[in-house]
Assembly symmetry: C2
Homo-oligomer: 219 residues x 2
Amino acid sequence: MYSYTEENYLKTIYKLSEQGNESINTNSIAEVLQTKAASVTDMIKKLADKKLLNYEKYKGVALTERGRKVAVDTVRKHRLWECFLYDKLKFGWDEVHEIAEQLEHINSELLTDKLDEFLDFPTHDPHGDPIPSKNGVIKKSNFILLCDAKPNQTLVMSGVADHTAVFLQHLNKISVVLGTEMQITEKNDYDGSIAVKLSGNKSMYFSKDVAKNILVKVK
Amino acid sequence: MYSYTEENYLKTIYKLSEQGNESINTNSIAEVLQTKAASVTDMIKKLADKKLLNYEKYKGVALTERGRKVAVDTVRKHRLWECFLYDKLKFGWDEVHEIAEQLEHINSELLTDKLDEFLDFPTHDPHGDPIPSKNGVIKKSNFILLCDAKPNQTLVMSGVADHTAVFLQHLNKISVVLGTEMQITEKNDYDGSIAVKLSGNKSMYFSKDVAKNILVKVK
DNA sequence: AAATATTTTTAGGCTTGTCTAAAAATATGT
DNA sequence: ACATATTTTTAGACAAGCCTAAAAATATTT
């Protein structure tokens, strides 16, 4: 239906839209896709011709409903494959993204449905991101950043704001995984660092850089 | 490493080689890949430049050792994915090929290894074809065509010579699956048809057209 | 408001993989 | 063996997706 490249453009524009930006500009797409602005302009025109984007010269782009559907479907496939790689093949959560970048372009609706069923209809991928439903609905998570959480509540580690392998590997190193429970015991205004209490009377410090990339929910 | 298209050319040349032909000619590749001879010539030159094929103008091509390795690895991935689709996702054996044609191009050695392990190191795909080992060795099956088998031996249905969906669906219809046991009770020279006895005192007729596409092994 | 800086688009070109039409080589038939 | 048929290759073109360099539009400074 749509090419590998077209799907990647749509997915990128979708993700930039999710990050708040109303209208997406050429350079930001180029940066994410590691390509040049001129190439982005070419593709934007093509996708606008196909009614997947609304585009006015020099004014940036926004997804149409059709474009959004294609993007969300690609995200759905990506996250389902990540679940497969993590749950079934025992890949680490720092390894799944790269392979899912390829698998997300496999074109078979029946395959996606059967994979979903095989995985027992997961709601979140290994990084805590929600998996869109077949008809394109994404359940908004009510997660907050650890650095914004209040002390003395029981918090459950539920996701990440930084999806890079290096950050995920750092969490591995300090044994922080999805489901880890903690209570903030101390917040230091000076450097934004946070001390928490974990189960079994263990405690741990998070620098601001780490705390601002950890998503938790209040238990 | 190699493009989707390059892998498909190498796989096609490999399969044509397996079917006996010493040197593979341009037109037969074009026919399998549903493309034109001119396109094949272009790609052949490219693959020969990359030392994946031995090629002399107007004399056809043969895989080099390197080319064979790439082709066999693609076949390995294809057949492993077919096992996954059939065993885990419960696709029919007539449905798996088409999807595996896409999945075989996913590029991750670790993924292939972990998939192999997840499937418990299968030796044959859902059509009875052998799965090459990681280092490129294929165990030759000692299967014979049903039409060449002798009467009064116990035969085990073990593979197919025709991999098309229509043939596989026909076998579904007559309930012939891998593992079905039978004994030939009658061979008709006139039309090549064969009568067999199945378990539970059931019997069945195979036309020559069907019998020549069923592979069995003697129990 | 003019000058400067930044962003975006256009113009033209490259590679991959495809095509058609014509030329060249090989194979076949008499 | 020579004419004809078939196969293969070459030549030139096209679409997708990318590039660089230059031009045009927009944004920012002063």
